[in-house]
Symmetry: C2
């Protein structure tokens, strides 16, 4: 029995997860709000701060994995020894696991029904040898379906909490609030909410353009009494950098408001989970 | 046996679908690329053109339904008679069905594993009485999971095809190509690809900003030899209008390049499926 006392956890999961100080899921009811970008940037910021080599990033999006592409790690193959799978270590000081490492070609889709997806995630949680970590960031696919259910139920009582991501629009607010109810029903604490794609600055005249008008992030935080972790405006340079999979935190990106806000959010998250 | 000759289709589905001339799925490997917006705007454009009252829109996103919110129809309850469910008729001349009509409150999440989600979709396909329609647009959730599998397998050999949606970035291109392989493996014809969120025009200086730099739409069309249906730039006014759920095609939206392109895409789709 684990801490919760009722849920029987696979002893292999208990063992692997026991070596990880903080487990954080990135969750959203809505797709394309930037969960993968946020998961990756948080991991990189934590590694850059003082946790180099002690941050794991699990891409739990089984049908649309994008983390290895964003890190230019798609040609890597994880070492497997018996039942143990070793994560890929990125040059930025984070360890990564994704279904993408096991797919045959670029275009291979994962056509699996729910139970198979859940099995893949359970395998990742029980068989990946992360070693001692300070943080494991889990990038969940959108919605409140099988993958999200499996991760939260499997780690029940043993996860620090979830970070919720939304874009500023009311449609997003409406869908994302459902994700928060989902987390609450499954007893997953909410660490806070991040508002992503909060407008873009015109590179010519400096005007700020509200691409998807609204204040969903702040509104949800207020209405549901959860922490507002910050806003992340669109930065075309960051988008390009994720496309290339290189130099993510180098060059002029360090002068980007988007990257600056992401680092601040990472510091807040660190403070909140260490409390 | 249906046209394909191998797949046994529920006779109720065959009967309901037999009254619909064209069935089109909106598909993407990636979330948040604007599938729901595109599904809705295509339906509205078709109804406005010459199919008023003859367009159905099925919101097959079971865990994150947003169509009723975008049409301000959330307070409507479908009439049920025996095993038959009647869709909600919008003032814009389209008929709508969504799991959202059956949820208790705004925040209720649908926490279902795959088999339950598949069952809900099968029920929608077999029990909703659309009547005679020219078009049924099916808004699929992101990924290549249960909902997409169920719709494509259930309608196999009996669907005009899928419209693929991407945003311009390379990460999106990479994930969306998987969705196309998915459609091909399931023998779903590809009607064409739409590139959404293709930049935004600065309202102050008129400069064009590439928010998510790239040309994923045109590139995928060229590489995989499929029709390129068009680009849809971001229009904050459209986003606001979808948030309010009103006046979607009225007022200054008709002067919007975004809306103009959406109407052109709708005309192309009509032409392609009627060939």
């Amino acid at each position: 029995m684990n801490k919760v006392g009722f849920y029987l956890q696979d002893p292999k999961i208990t063992e692997k997860m026991g070596k990880i100080k903080h487990k954080i899921a990135i969750l959203s009811g809505k797709g394309g709000v930037g969960k993968s970008m946020l998961s990756l940037m948080l991991s990189l910021a934590l590694a850059k701060n003082k946790h180099r080599g002690l941050v794991g990033l699990l891409d739990a999006d089984i049908t649309g994995p994008s983390i290895p592409k964003m890190l230019n790690l798609r040609d890597k193959k994880p070492t497997i020894s018996g039942e143990t799978i070793f994560p890929i270590e990125s040059e930025y000081g984070i360890k990564v696991m994704s279904i993408d490492f096991f797919l045959k070609s670029d275009d291979t889709p994962v056509i699996w029904r729910g139970p198979l997806k859940s099995k893949a995630i359970t395998q990742f949680l029980s068989q990946v040898e992360w070693g001692e970590l300070d943080f494991l960031i889990i990038d969940l696919p959108p919605g409140t379906g099988d993958e999200a259910l499996t991760v939260t139920q499997t780690l029940q009582g043993n996860i620090d909490g979830a970070i919720i991501v939304t874009i500023p629009s009311q449609v997003s607010k409406f869908v994302v609030k459902k994700a928060i109810s989902f987390a609450k029903e499954l007893n997953v604490p909410i660490i806070g909410i991040v508002e992503n794609m909060s407008g873009v600055t015109c590179p010519k005249c400096g005007a700020f353009i509200e691409t998807f008008p609204g204040k969903a992030g702040e509104e949800i935080a207020k209405e549901l009494n959860i922490n507002f972790l910050g806003k992340v405006p669109i930065d075309p340079k960051l988008s390009k950098s994720l496309d290339k999979g290189i130099n993510l935190l180098a060059e002029d990106l360090e002068t980007s408001i988007t990257v600056k806000n992401l680092f601040e959010i990472s510091a807040k998250v660190e403070e909140l989970v260490e409390k």
